[in-house]
């Protein structure tokens, strides 16, 4: 465990910039958006860098399976080079790091691997950060995610007075500390206490959210989809859905995509484009048959994938409790309420 001052952290960014494109959350109104870090950005008045605080607006997947990415050029065996320079993500939160568990399972496991995802995962740097506050929609604890990272980072920053407590989570992270000893110092006991108190405070805030919204813990999710498969919950909840797919796009675990081909005079290009299972023709076959013709079936499918398929396949619920889909949904479909209803309806059923 180390300590780094605010100034030295920006000095570290200056060093990292030689090898990495750095992206850092910048606050605009009440949201935090990943923005390319520029030298002296921290001193510009109009840009409020927000390393701590709470999750960014965008999910971390935007850097790893980008919304549109070229995955083949003609018949060439050369891989299209999509990231000219490795990137460094600063301020990723624990909920987003849990998203890696699902994305890694999809793109790195199995008989076939996605070389673009693997490249992005191997050649990047993740400097995560503790949450220092919560949003009303945060419910990470229900999914066994704490509001501070415990794994899946190279370095983690815990914001304290005048700087950050730093922990290395990988050899690469430790290497950064070792290579720049002048930037780091041993933390005083008071700042470690400050960090621990902060963690306790934010954890208590999330617990309060869980209680206020009646959000069940994931240990009660087992079998809820199967038991509620024919429930009226799906029809009720899908009533207001406008099929925009925002819940899919904004979700750190949603991974579905479409291979899309385009061509000009001579050049053929294949793109991997994010797709949304809420859109009507997501599963329609060429001859026109759609296994999920009704919106409520597609809503059920979304929950089935997250709370039945993934736990069975990968051992993890494909939800991080980040709450982004709650905020993004123009129809006010609330995942917390759906989960609450699913769990409740299971309890109602006779044994």
């Amino acid at each position: 465990m180390k300590f780094i001052t605010n100034n030295n952290l920006f000095n570290l960014f200056g060093i990292l910039q030689k090898d990495y494109d750095i992206f850092i959350p910048v606050k605009r109104e009440n949201n935090r958006f990943y923005t390319r870090y520029m030298p002296q950005m921290e001193t510009e008045g109009d840009k409020e860098i927000s390393i701590g605080e709470v999750r960014s607006f965008e999910p971390l997947k935007i850097f790893y399976t980008r919304a549109r990415e070229t995955v083949a050029e003609g018949f060439s065996t050369e891989l299209p080079k999509s990231n000219p320079k490795p990137f460094c993500i600063v301020g990723a939160k624990a909920c987003d790091l849990k998203g890696f568990m699902i994305q890694d399972f999809v793109f790195k496991e199995g008989d076939f691997q996605d070389p673009f995802y693997i490249d992005a995962r191997e050649n990047n740097l993740v400097i995560s950060a503790d949450c220092t506050c919560t949003l009303d929609t945060c419910f990470c604890l229900a999914l066994d995610v704490k509001p501070y990272p415990e794994k899946s980072f190279d370095l983690n920053l815990s914001q304290v007075s005048n700087g950050f407590v730093v922990e290395a989570g990988s050899q690469k992270g430790q290497g950064l500390i070792d290579a720049n000893p002048s930037l780091f110092s041993d933390p005083m006991e008071t700042v470690v206490t400050e960090r621990d108190d902060q963690r306790k405070k934010v954890t208590a805030e999330v617990k309060k959210n869980l209680k206020e919204h009646g959000i069940p813990n994931q240990d009660r999710f087992e079998g809820v989809i199967e038991k509620n498969y024919e429930s009226e919950i799906w029809g009720d909840e899908a009533k207001t859905c406008v099929e925009c797919g925002a819940c899919n796009t904004i979700c750190p675990t949603c991974h579905c995509f479409l291979l899309y081909d385009q061509m000009d005079e001579k050049r053929m290009e294949r793109l991997r484009v994010w797709d949304s299972c809420m859109i009507k023709d997501f599963a329609t076959v060429a001859a026109g048959v759609n296994p999920r013709p009704w919106l409520w079936m597609r809503l059920r499918n979304r929950f089935e994938k997250k709370f039945d398929f993934f736990p069975k396949q990968s051992g993890t619920y494909a939800c991080t409790g980040c709450g982004r889909c709650i905020t993004a949904c123009p129809a006010k479909i609330d995942i917390r309420k759906v989960l609450q209803r699913l769990v409740k309806d299971v309890q109602k059923q006779p044994v």
Binding site: F75, G110, Q113, P115, L259, D261, A283, A287, G288, F309
Partner: protein
């Protein structure tokens, strides 16, 4: 960076386009790199700039440098495939999926039921079965199409009828004017299964055809006494990547592209959308 790119199509030359029926064509292809598939596995065929679609090859699996796919014109990509000409360049990816577990059928009585465009994967399967036909206890084939002019591979199937190692019956749903030459039966494929003399308790049934045909054939087979686990179906789902990543073809805990496209009925029967 990892060298294998599962999204890259292999440059492939169109050797021949054969018109099978008014809506179905077979395309003979020569990929620049050898593709070795197991019967029942599928490939993704790219029409440059238009897109890809999945097909189970209809040709002999042991031929590495050529492949045939039989395509019904139903959508954007298949329409373009029908417009292909000898010498055109297309792309191939694959093979993907599980294919038929043929070794598990050795020593058993096997019934193959094909319907319409489902003859395509079935032809590849039959080539393989005939190669080792002595190793099966009994072989039956039942095939049906809408009308005689919708029948695929007329030359091959008429040869199958003459073979001694397999009992073959063909049927059409209806006869149109000018179909007088038809020598097979008339009626749905489910009506030509009753006379099959096989041990249904241990027999294997392989069914491939349009969803509605697979549904009623499966129901009939169960009524006849076939075990759920001995009925092998070819599932059709929207597929994009073919490698279990893109999420389109999920059914229950499976991806059809990765865990299928061949499934035992026992594995999929509990899913309400199995026949969609």
């Amino acid at each position: 960076m990892s060298k294998n790119n599962p999204y890259r199509p292999i440059e492939t030359q169109v050797l021949e386009v054969i018109t099978e029926t008014p809506t179905i064509k077979t395309v003979r292809l020569k990929p620049k790199e050898e593709i070795l598939f197991r019967t029942g596995q599928f490939i993704e065929l790219t029409v440059p700039g238009v897109g890809e679609a999945p097909f189970t090859p209809s040709s002999r699996p042991w031929i590495k440098n050529e492949m045939e796919v039989t395509v019904m014109s139903v959508g954007k990509v298949t329409e373009k495939i029908h417009q292909l000409k000898k010498g055109d360049t297309v792309g191939l990816r694959g093979p993907f999926g599980n294919g038929y577990p043929l070794d598990d059928f050795i020593g058993k009585e096997v019934l193959v039921v094909g319907g319409g465009c489902g003859f395509a994967p079935i032809r590849s399967l039959m080539y393989e079965i005939f190669e080792k036909s002595a190793q099966f206890k009994k072989l039956f084939f039942r095939g049906g199409c809408k009308t005689p002019k919708d029948f695929l591979y007329k030359k091959e199937t008429s040869e199958w009828v003459k073979r001694k190692d397999i009992n073959v019956v063909l049927t059409v749903d209806t006869l149109d004017q000018g179909d007088g030459e038809w020598k097979g039966k008339v009626g749905l494929v489910t009506t030509i299964l009753d006379d099959i003399k096989m041990d249904v308790k241990s027999g294997i049934a392989i069914v491939c055809g349009p969803p509605i045909m697979m549904k009623f054939t499966t129901q009939k087979l169960i009524k006849m006494g076939f075990r759920d686990a001995n009925i092998y179906l070819s599932m059709e789902r929207n597929m994009s990547c073919g490698i279990g990543k893109c999420g389109h073809c999920r059914i229950g805990p499976y991806y059809v592209c990765k865990d299928g496209p061949v499934f035992q009925y026992s594995a999929v029967k509990s899913f309400p959308d199995v026949w969609d």
